[in-house]
């Protein structure tokens, strides 16, 4: 237990996913400590989503390894996901299923989700859970993804481009939610191409370019993204 408590929230070692033709991520060495908020910046196609999918065990690394709270992201994927809230870059499409059913379905898979927390999050985000998913606008779909990632009070938030499609009010609420989680002791790993979002919320940022880290977490924070 002591070992687990001391383990970093995220640690990768030579993590590589090679899609060929120079696409993917290569030799990634990252460490995010517990209670830390880290931004991963990069232009479209830099490898941010691939990195996050590797951490979530959705795709398998070509080489190297990734650990979350000391647990192997491939072999111990189920245990890893108990402690993680993940928000994907592409919102899923649930067709005619109402938002309330989707939330209850994912909560049923996860177990231990409090209905009052769901209500609180939906109210803060002004997300109507009575509508079918196909009737949601893009912003509402993004809000649903936020709700699914936050509803179980995870120890680590892995967020991929979370502010996309959100209006100003929802964007402010998202910032507030991330800050609350961070202040409550959770670690945050935030992939985005919005420098101001990372600046506002993160203790430090790393920059990916063509699948490789071009800026380490210890260097001063950048004011703008480097060219792709």
């Amino acid at each position: 237990m002591l070992v687990e408590m001391a383990a970093p929230a995220i640690r990768t070692s030579a993590l590589t996913k090679d899609y060929g033709a120079g696409r993917g991520v290569f030799g990634l060495e990252l460490q995010v400590d517990q209670h830390q908020a880290i931004g991963l910046l990069g232009a479209d196609g830099a490898g941010k989503t691939t990195t996050l999918q590797l951490l979530m065990g959705l795709i398998r690394p070509t080489r190297g390894s990734a650990y979350i709270f000391g647990l192997d992201c491939v072999r111990e994927a189920v245990e890893v996901k108990r402690r993680v809230g993940y928000m994907p870059a592409e919102t899923p499409d649930f067709g005619c299923t109402p938002g309330g059913d989707i939330v209850a379905y994912v909560a049923g898979l996860r177990g231990g989700v409090n209905g009052a927390d769901v209500h609180d999050l939906a109210e803060r985000l002004h997300l109507d859970l009575g509508l079918p998913h196909r009737d949601y606008a893009d912003g509402d779909r993004q809000k649903l993804s936020i709700l699914l990632a936050f509803m179980h009070h995870p120890d680590l938030l892995i967020l991929d481009d979370p502010s996309r499609h959100l209006d100003a009010d929802a964007g402010r609420e998202l910032r507030s939610l991330i800050a609350e989680c961070r202040d409550g002791g959770a670690a945050v790993f935030l992939a985005t191409d919005v420098v101001t979002l990372a600046e506002e919320l993160c203790d430090s940022v790393a920059i990916l370019r063509r699948g490789r880290l071009v800026r380490d977490l210890d260097e001063p924070r950048p004011r703008a993204l480097p060219p792709p």
Binding site: T49, Q53, M56, G57, L58, I59, R60, A77, V78, E79, K81, R82, V84, Y86, P88, A89, E90, T91, P92, D93, F94, G95, C96, T97, P98, G100, D101, V103, A104, Y105, V106, A107, G108, L109, R110, G111, G115, V118, H119, A122, E123, H126, L127, D128, L129, G130, L131, P132, R134, D135, Y136, A137, L148
Partner: protein
């Protein structure tokens, strides 16, 4: 044009699957005919047999036209089933369009892409028919082949137009569209048994397809039916376009709900899957009960001449009971078997879509193992099938008893068990395809079902090895109402299901989920 090309690229697997199915079905049926009836005398005898058997298969096939020719046989055994296959394709394609986030104005591009896809598959089917007919030395009626192809294409487009229109009018497009097409199909096919339905069959496009049989020598191309199909296609498309332009795409509720669903079933494995499909499940249940009752009544109606014989004739009761059981097997069991094959393919298409629409990534972002996902999928299919088989069997039992016909209840239970095993085997194969190559899983499962059907139907005539025929799921469930369950066949079905499931788990553990480029391939016209 670009949009049409993008849709065609996205549906390439479907086009390939239906083209292979059409070519194989037409070619193999023709080859089988030549093997069964190589001489003139054989053909005459076989034609007599087919004509005498036609009432038994009236629910599935129209009456044969020139069954003494390979062309007549292919018209009945290949082109009639292809019409059903293409109608299913129209349903799947239209529902996928309406439930996706594509813009309504993409409709014309989608329609054009579907028409081109159907044309490609039809050309393949016509090529298979021509090759097969010619292989036995029978002259090929080129105008007839073209006529049969034209009818198939126009019929499929008419079905697509109906489906698009219906799907737009309902919040449950998959259920309602499937229900409407099933109703139109059975309205036409049951009107061959129940004369009372003939007054209503003019609303069914299947009726207008049946009016033509252009392939055999001296066959007919019904211009009135052709014109009606064109009219349905044009009117349906025009109404669909009008409807799409007036549609409000985003609803706003007067009072917002912030509560998640409180349904307990969503906490239970398998139950949660069935709960999310509860409306579709209810519709399938209704269809199973209504069809069970209708088909039992059709079997009863078909033995009416026997019931008029004096009851004191020796052996008459056994003869009537035997004939009724035989007819129940041909009408209820065989039709329900095909319906359950369709149900399994519907489940597989959803598993396949879960990859491209991001639902699988959402499930795997929860603490849920990949093996559990695979097992739960197949378990949900088996549970749904078990319930539907039981309801259909009960409808058959009650209808039979109500009509004064005796049915062996144990044999009926055997038949329901074989229906369940059949769907589970097809589902396990579909699970394997969904884990291996999800974007092609629906097409591959369809090809698997068709291959099994052909293996059972024509494998013996074509001299295929016995071990291959014994692996067909259609062969493994043979005649449970007449002969009960064969333990060896049941064990083989269980083994096939277990192998399919285990292979699915292994493949699922190794595959990547959530690739952005896969999503783009699957939904090329998604709104950005």
């Amino acid at each position: 044009m670009t949009r049409t090309a993008a849709v065609l690229r996205g549906g390439a697997w479907d086009v390939a699957g239906f083209a292979v199915a059409g070519f194989a079905l037409a070619l193999l049926e023709a080859l089988a005919y030549h093997r069964i009836a190589p001489t003139g005398a054989d053909r005459a005898a076989f034609a007599y047999y087919l004509t005498s058997q036609a009432p038994l298969a009236a629910v599935l096939f129209p009456p044969p036209v020139r069954p003494d020719t390979a062309a007549g046989y292919v018209q009945m055994m290949a082109f009639a089933p292809l019409a059903v296959l293409f109608a299913s394709w129209a349903v799947a394609s239209a529902v996928s369009f309406i439930t996706s986030r594509a813009r309504p104005r993409d409709f014309i591009g989608r329609l054009a892409a579907f028409a081109i896809s159907v044309l490609i598959a039809t050309v393949a089917a016509c090529a298979g028919a021509a090759l097969g007919i010619a292989s036995g030395g029978e002259p090929v009626n080129v105008a007839g082949v073209i006529g049969a192809g034209v009818m198939l294409v126009v019929f499929a487009i008419a079905c697509y137009a109906i489906c698009i229109l219906v799907a737009q009018l309902t919040p449950e497009p998959a259920i309602v569209t499937t229900g409407v097409m099933l109703a139109l199909f059975f309205l036409n096919s049951l009107s061959r048994v129940f004369a009372q339905l003939s007054y209503a069959r003019w609303i069914s496009p299947f009726r207008y397809f049946d009016l033509s049989a252009p392939l055999p020598p001296g066959g007919r191309f019904d211009l009135g039916g052709f014109a009606m199909l064109i009219a349905i296609a044009v009117a349906g498309s025009a109404l669909a376009v009008l409807r799409s332009r007036t549609e409000v795409t985003t609803r706003i509720n007067a009072s917002k709900t912030f509560e998640s669903s409180s349904a307990r079933l969503l906490d239970i494995p398998v139950g949660r899957d069935l709960y999310l499909r509860r409306r579709a499940f209810a519709a399938w249940s209704l269809a199973a009960v209504v069809l069970g009752a209708f088909l039992a009544a059709a079997a009863r109606s078909s033995i009416q001449p026997l019931l008029l014989l004096p009851p004191q004739l020796p052996g008459i009761h056994q003869l009537i009971a035997g004939m009724y059981t035989l007819l129940l097997g041909r009408m209820w069991f065989d039709v329900t078997l095909l319906l359950f094959a369709a149900l399994a393919i519907v489940f597989v298409s959803r598993w396949s879509a879960e990859v491209s629409d991001g639902r699988l990534a959402t499930v795997l972002s929860a603490p849920y193992s990949r093996a559990t996902v695979v097992v739960e999928r197949v378990a949900a299919l088996s549970t749904a099938t078990a319930v539907l088989a039981a309801m259909s069997g009960l409808a058959v039992l009650l209808t039979s008893r109500g009509a004064g016909m005796s049915v062996d209840v144990l044999r009926l239970v055997d038949a329901c068990l074989m229906l369940l095993m059949f769907a589970t085997v097809v589902g396990a194969a579909g699970s394997l395809f969904a884990a291996w190559v999800p974007q092609a899983a629906t097409a591959l499962t369809g090809v698997f079902v068709l291959a099994g059907y052909l293996d059972d139907q024509v494998g013996g005539s074509l001299g295929w090895p016995g071990w291959l025929q014994s692996l067909s799921p259609f062969n493994l469930v043979r005649e449970p109402l007449l002969v009960g369950i064969d333990g060896r066949r049941l064990a083989l079905m269980v083994a096939l299901a277990v192998v399919g499931l285990a292979s699915s788990i292994l493949l699922m553990q190794r595959r990547d989920v959530g690739l952005a480029d896969l999503r783009k391939v699957a939904n090329p016209v998604q709104r950005r």
